[in-house]
């Protein structure tokens, strides 16, 4: 072996010699019977390796496909948000570790914004945890509060990670579907409701938590105060926690109001409310989120956090804090991004709905969020000879991607095993897309209409 006092300089030669040396050694050692690692991976990972995104995000890489699938904005984030990140990066200290549970200026800004929204005092140090996206908050909350023997209620369709996260924590998911109260076809996300008696029957002494998502992904439902009260009553009666995924909280359209279940009487002390920078500021790639709740619950999420990744990115947190200050100061102003973004998205929502109607489809108009579901069974695309084991919506989306160059997400990905049949005629479109993307979708949909005419 080349002995190199300066191991870098002769890397090329040394690597070559290292390789031949390794090769001869490995021939010797395989002769002597060294074997690969044969022990098992941990039980908690079993059965949780696949998910819908693995297949459908690959699509994003193909530029010939109009991607309305994954919830990925292709609109530009506000320029001041990017500027604040550039500013933060220029400060040396802001490139080093910050406070583990959340960068001080960010938790301060979050406490101010949410005090305003919730109408109660929020302590930035004890009532808030900053996490790696809303996803990280869900993980921290579930790991902190759910274990073997616990049941966790989730409302179908649900953001797909809820189920594997609960299972990984040893908990048992209990499903309850939103049902179209009108039977036939649905025009609005408001048509989709929970049956109160059915919901009550899901609660028992083992119920540790219910996961709520409002505004709802994928349907876009914005739960009303009355609907939240039904859930709250059951939580209080059964001493159950509520994990409230409110990442789309600002994306609420005219005639609707986002209500935080934590503000209902008796709920603050048992609710973890989750938010997301990615959805608030159209920067999904920043992966910053937060959990807000009472100290006696947040402290357990903080313990999980300190044993999983300890701190989140400093420059991103600082930039986010500065962006929040800018918008906090103008929270009553229509120019505040919290209000201007939903206005922008509402017209995209309406355009998307119009395009889908022109193909003869009946989209379910969402009250919030940036997704829209649509029943595609009326197009009567016969896929019965394709893989019989796959739900119809998976087959439809794959067919649509290859023959129409348009992508969406199959809704049965968001359901428990019993309900897949109910939702397999629906697919989900994302409309937080720039005009040129929607123009391209329009071309595809208009041609589609011509072909079916």
């Amino acid at each position: 072996m080349l002995s190199a006092p300066r191991s870098f300089c002769c890397l090329g030669i040394r690597t070559y010699r290292l390789r031949t040396d390794l090769l001869s050694r490995s021939i010797k050692s395989s002769a002597s019977g060294t074997m690969a690692f044969r022990r098992k991976n941990a039980r908690r990972t079993e059965g949780l390796d696949s998910n819908v995104w693995v297949e459908f995000t690959k699509v994003a890489a193909d530029p010939s496909i109009v991607n309305l699938g994954q919830g990925l904005p292709d609109i530009c984030p506000p320029s001041y948000v990017k500027e604040e990140l550039a500013n933060a990066a220029a400060v040396d200290r802001l490139n080093q570790y910050t406070r583990g549970f959340g960068h001080p200026s960010l938790v301060k800004a979050l406490s101010q914004v949410y005090e305003r929204v919730c109408g109660r005092k929020i302590d930035p140090l004890t009532d808030i945890l900053v996490t790696v996206g809303g996803y990280g908050s869900l993980f921290s909350a579930i790991q902190a509060l759910v274990e073997e023997g616990d049941e966790v209620i989730m409302i179908e369709p649900f953001y797909d990670c809820y189920e594997p996260m609960v299972k990984m924590a040893g908990g048992k998911p209990v499903f309850i579907p939103l049902r179209n109260k009108n039977g036939g076809s649905s025009a609005s996300s408001a048509d989709w409701v929970l049956d109160p008696a059915e919901l009550a029957s899901k609660f028992n002494s083992k119920t540790k938590a219910i996961i709520l998502n409002t505004p709802h992904n994928p349907i876009g439902k914005v739960f009303t105060r009355e609907e939240l009260q039904v859930i709250a009553d059951l939580c209080i009666k059964h001493d159950t926690l509520c994990i409230s995924d409110e990442v789309y909280e600002w994306l609420v359209y005219k005639g609707n109001k986002h209500i935080k279940i934590a503000t209902l009487p008796g709920m603050w002390e048992r609710t973890i409310t989750i938010g997301s920078a990615g959805k608030t500021y159209s920067v999904t790639g920043w992966k910053l989120g937060w959990s807000i709740g009472p100290q006696n619950l947040i402290k357990h999420l903080q313990v999980i956090h300190q044993n999983t990744l300890y701190t989140c990115s400093t420059p991103l947190q600082e930039a986010l804090a500065q962006a929040f200050w800018i918008d906090y100061k103008r929270m009553d102003d229509p120019d505040c991004y919290f209000h201007s973004l939903p206005r922008e998205l509402e017209s995209k929502r309406d355009r998307m709905a119009q395009l889908l109607r022109e193909v003869g489809l009946k989209p379910v108009i969402p009250e919030g969020g940036y997704f829209m579901i649509v029943d595609v069974s009326m197009l009567n695309v016969d896929l019965s000879d394709v893989d019989k084991n796959q739900p119809y919506d998976y087959k439809f989306v794959r067919w649509m991607i290859s023959s129409k160059k348009l992508s969406a997400i199959p809704l049965s990905a968001f359901c428990g095993p019993e309900t897949k049949g109910q939702f397999e005629k629906y697919i989900r479109f994302c409309f937080i897309k720039k005009d040129s993307t929607l123009d391209a979708a329009e071309v595809i949909l208009k041609n589609w209409k011509k072909q079916t005419a």
Partner: protein, 442 residues
């Protein structure tokens, strides 16, 4: 009272719920964290902070410039989700670099996974493989998160100390003098041993394991079919021209090692929280499962900039202006400067072969902080607290890096971080000099 339910059953079920703690059992015993306390104290009292391990000098210019370019650039997809297991430009660079370093043909998609700092890489590896009933060998002193992470996964940590050998007459102890006893190490392995966590270069001692020492560990891993989780975050911070041997390059070890790295330590950007795992697909597939069910995606902008940083480094590899050469050269000078300051005042530093930490024996200063028998705090912890409050100098007690049962075994050492600007090191020197004069008396 609820309708339709007998009063007693309602009462019983809610009693049962209330008597159980709200938090999951996995939090038991892992809730304490000494750093939360240290950071608070240092913020209040420290005039000079050589405690927590982060540099107080800037990241390299080429990286800062890249960050600004990326953030303000035309391509705003950099602010949206990227590939969950690692931003393609970054995993490609990592596969190229580690392919060279580990002597393997690496597929960026299956042999590399990006994480939120090396911390999250450790979490994913331990969670991916450690189950209730599994034992994990941890070498003391250890980066303190290994123990709670193993416990939270239901595993049992099995500790083995590095034992200091007395240095040759008149010489300072080196981190190389802290060694494993081979028979003792062998005794720690059993049929329940799932993994060993290796940290080389080692935090806090700065030890860089020799090939012979790694072979000792490798032989036991192979004999007992144990995994090696190799925390190599300080891989570039090696001094005195020493060779850095990576355990994954030893025969039989590629298939049972996950190697962990960190952009924070490589490029002086601890706040970016970009780390990675490198290993065979057969192991990484389970690490990926953990990742996709915990954080899923890592932040895009910082991954893009780190990729550009690696591209620059690969172009400059082996050349004098390579950051991988410049940084350890600069840090070696700082190491030597701090060593001099400590020796001059009567502290006995252990010369580190790597990392930006060193530990120093503070026995000479015991008169300042007398030993208190049966104290609940180890001596070094009381000493470090006293030094912080009375001298304004922050350092970390070595007992922080030992399990509860062993905290008093090596309690005459404190750890200093020397990744500091010259002015900071000079200020530390001034404090120490003043202290020495005060001790000498009138």
């Amino acid at each position: 009272l609820p309708l339709g339910k007998a009063p007693s059953s309602f009462f019983l079920s809610s009693q049962a719920k209330m008597s159980r703690p709200v938090q999951a059992q996995r939090l038991e015993g892992v809730d304490k964290n000494l750093w939360v306390e240290y950071v608070k104290l240092a913020a209040t009292y420290a005039k000079v902070n050589l405690g927590q391990g982060f540099p107080d000098f800037p990241p390299p210019d080429f990286l800062k410039e890249a960050f600004t370019r990326v953030v303000r650039g035309e391509d705003h997809t950099v602010h949206q989700y990227t590939r969950a297991f690692g931003h393609p430009p970054l995993v490609k660079m990592l596969a190229q670099l580690y392919g060279k370093l580990l002597g393997q043909d690496l597929d960026p998609m299956s042999n590399v996974m990006v994480t939120v700092g090396a911390y999250q890489a450790l979490f994913c590896c331990i969670q991916a493989f450690v189950d209730k009933g599994d034992e994990v060998v941890i070498i003391e002193p250890f980066f303190d998160c290994y123990e709670p992470m193993v416990r939270m996964a239901g595993g049992t940590p099995v500790f083995i100390p590095l034992r200091p050998k007395a240095p040759k007459d008149g010489k300072l102890m080196s981190s190389a003098d802290w060694q494993l006893d081979p028979a003792e190490l062998a005794s720690k392995f059993s049929e329940r041993t799932k993994a060993l966590v290796l940290n080389s270069p080692n935090n806090p001692l700065g030890k860089v394991y020799s090939r012979a020492e790694l072979e000792l560990i490798a032989d036991l891993c192979m004999k007992h079919d144990a995994l090696c989780i190799s925390d190599e975050v300080y891989e570039w911070l090696i001094y005195d021209g020493r060779e850095n041997v990576r355990i994954a390059t030893l025969p039989g070890m590629w298939d049972r090692t996950v190697t962990i790295g960190s952009a924070g330590k490589t490029f002086n950007v601890t706040g970016w929280k970009v780390g990675w795992t490198v290993g065979p697909n057969q192991l990484l597939q389970h690490v990926r499962t953990m990742h996709q069910n915990s954080v899923y995606h890592c932040a895009t902008p910082t991954q893009e900039v780190v990729a550009q940083g690696f591209q620059r480094e690969l172009e400059h590899y082996g050349k004098p202006d390579s950051y991988f050469i410049q940084l350890p050269r600069e840090l070696q000078q700082k190491r030597d400067q701090l060593i001099q300051s400590l020796v001059a005042v009567g502290m006995k530093p252990v010369v580190p072969e790597g990392t930006y930490f060193l530990v120093a024996d503070i026995s000479e200063f015991k008169s300042e902080v007398p030993d208190v028998p049966n104290s609940d705090k180890p001596y070094d912890s009381r000493f470090a607290n006293w030094m912080l409050k009375n001298k304004g100098l922050a350092a970390i007690p070595l007992s922080t890096f030992y399990c509860e049962a062993h905290k008093n075994n090596y309690s005459n050492f404190i750890r200093f971080c020397f990744a500091k600007e010259d002015a900071t090191l000079k200020a530390a020197e001034d404090i120490l000099q003043k202290w020495k004069l005060e001790k000498a008396g009138p």
